[in-house]
């Protein structure tokens, strides 16, 4: 008997591990190659942007900059990961078309490459956040920070199916990335990413916080780092359900379309 399709697919992704790990490392090398600060840009860029935003928003919302800035920074680096996984991820197959035309490999390795690259960038950027919080709010340091680390597997498990799902569609519909840009802009406005959750609640927009997976995702990092508290089970539940839905969609679409993707390239 032939093994289950999903089994052998996962197996083939594993067998190709040297390839996608190397592609990802090559992405990182070319990202950092030829720039004066190199790898440091990944750290400097979000911190610099955060300072600018915190200065302006801090004045508007009368929030103390030192505490409001880490809030923005945590939102920014996680959101950057989501955006990059969605937009760069949706182009993963098109970008890898030379490989796809030459050698039969599971297509999900090409989105895994993108997600892995983004994850490394996020890890580096989070060093800036950690340093900031340790200086400004040292009282928050404690065991709950272990929970903040779970953001990495959660983002990887959510970003991979998200990127894969969008890549199937974006290969078929070449103008999808433009539509995605708009959709994510809207999600950004409707989520407590830069704006504080309390701002939404004061405006009577509780639903945008309580039922928003992005809010719960961010709480995994924000509860420990910014409040010294553990994320709630509800936070994790929202994340796991989102992962499940994304994975299911990616698998359903993949079973139907993975084989014919080569015709759309």
């Amino acid at each position: 008997m032939r093994p289950l399709v999903t089994d052998s697919y996962a197996m083939r992704v594993w067998q190709a591990r040297y390839f996608w790990i190397h592609l990802s490392l090559a992405d990182l090398r070319s990202r950092w190659r030829g720039s004066f600060f190199g790898i440091l840009w990944t750290l400097i860029q979000p911190v610099g942007t955060t300072l600018l935003i915190a200065l302006v928003f801090g004045k508007i919302f009368h929030a103390p900059i030192t505490e409001y800035a880490p809030y923005i920074l945590s939102g920014m680096i996680v959101w950057d990961f989501v955006i990059a996984s969605a937009t760069a991820g949706s182009l993963s197959f098109v970008q890898a078309d030379a490989y796809i035309r030459q050698c039969k490999q599971p297509l999900a390795i090409y989105t895994l490459r993108t997600v892995l690259t983004n994850l490394v960038v996020l890890s580096l950027a989070s060093v800036g956040l950690l340093a900031w919080v340790l200086v400004v709010m040292p009282q928050n340091f404690g065991w709950s920070w272990v929970a903040a680390l779970t953001i990495f597997p959660i983002l990887a498990l959510a970003g991979w199916p998200l990127a894969t799902l969008l890549a199937y569609f974006a290969t078929r519909f070449r103008d999808l990335p433009y539509a995605l840009g708009l959709a994510f802009q809207a999600m950004w406005f409707a989520s407590p990413i830069y704006f504080e959750a309390d701002t939404f609640r004061k405006g009577g927009l509780n639903a945008l916080v309580d039922y928003n997976p992005i809010y719960h995702l961010l709480q995994i990092v924000r509860a420990p780092l910014l409040h010294g508290a553990w994320p709630t089970l509800e936070n994790y539940a929202y994340c796991l359900v989102s992962i499940g839905v994304l994975a299911l969609l990616a698998i359903v679409v993949g079973i139907r379309t993975e084989k014919v993707m080569i015709f759309y390239l």
């Binding site: 067998q15 190709a16 040297y18 390839f19 190397h22 592609l23 090559a26 090398r29 070319s30 190659r33 030379a98 490989y99 035309r101 030459q102 050698c103 039969k104 490999q105 078929r172 519909f173 070449r174 103008d175 999808l176 539509a179 084989k259 014919v260 080569i262 015709f263 759309y264 390239l265």
Partner: protein
Amino acid sequence: MSTNRISLQDVNLHYSSVGFRDRSLKAWLSRVFHTKSGHAEIHDVHALKNVNVEIRAGERVGLLGHNGAGKTTFLKMLAGLYPISGGRRLVDGTIRSLFDLSLGFEPDASGRENILYRGLLLGLAPRYMRSLESEIVAFADLGEFIDYPIKTYSAGMQVRLAFAISTAVGGDVLLLDEVIGVGDEDFMKKAKQRIHSLIDRSEILVLATHDVSSLSSLCDRALVFDHGALIFDGSVDAAIAAYRISQASVT
């Protein structure tokens, strides 16, 4: 006794017309809402029609046919790149295919790095590729350019490197598409020898070419394709005759 074989039963292959239509959300929406449009209808292309072939270990098979007859499609279908729309396809053995040689280089990485990447794409381990590296570098014979980024290479140099990498690793089932004819004269000689040794090591060879002389020297069986259908399967000499007749009947 080796069990490598290729078995095709009533294989059909359609190129999805979506791939060569306007592939935007906008176009899709306009198709959904206005079924009639001024453009000519574009249909799926029926690229392989009811192909039945059995190839056993040890066979050297050549493919003949006019441009667009389905030779490359046939090879890519064997390689598992193109999905079949009907029938049964069975290929036992590790497949090594040489088509679109210079595709898939990372332009910013050096030739040496690309040796590794290409090997990894083929599913090989980094350690194994490093053990082959010096041999590949020597064969490609690019001098100091091997440590330069690929984007500085001429087209000929890229093909040399691609050829050196792709032929350094053998497989049970070797699929070749018009690769005999790369590089300058010196390189051609080396390349021919290399192809011969690769063919000797493989269990099954399927070769698509227009060069009748290399076909008769390399193969002991030939398939003739005409508009996606298999019209002849037999000895090379008879196949060349059948191919010429089919060509003559067209003109």
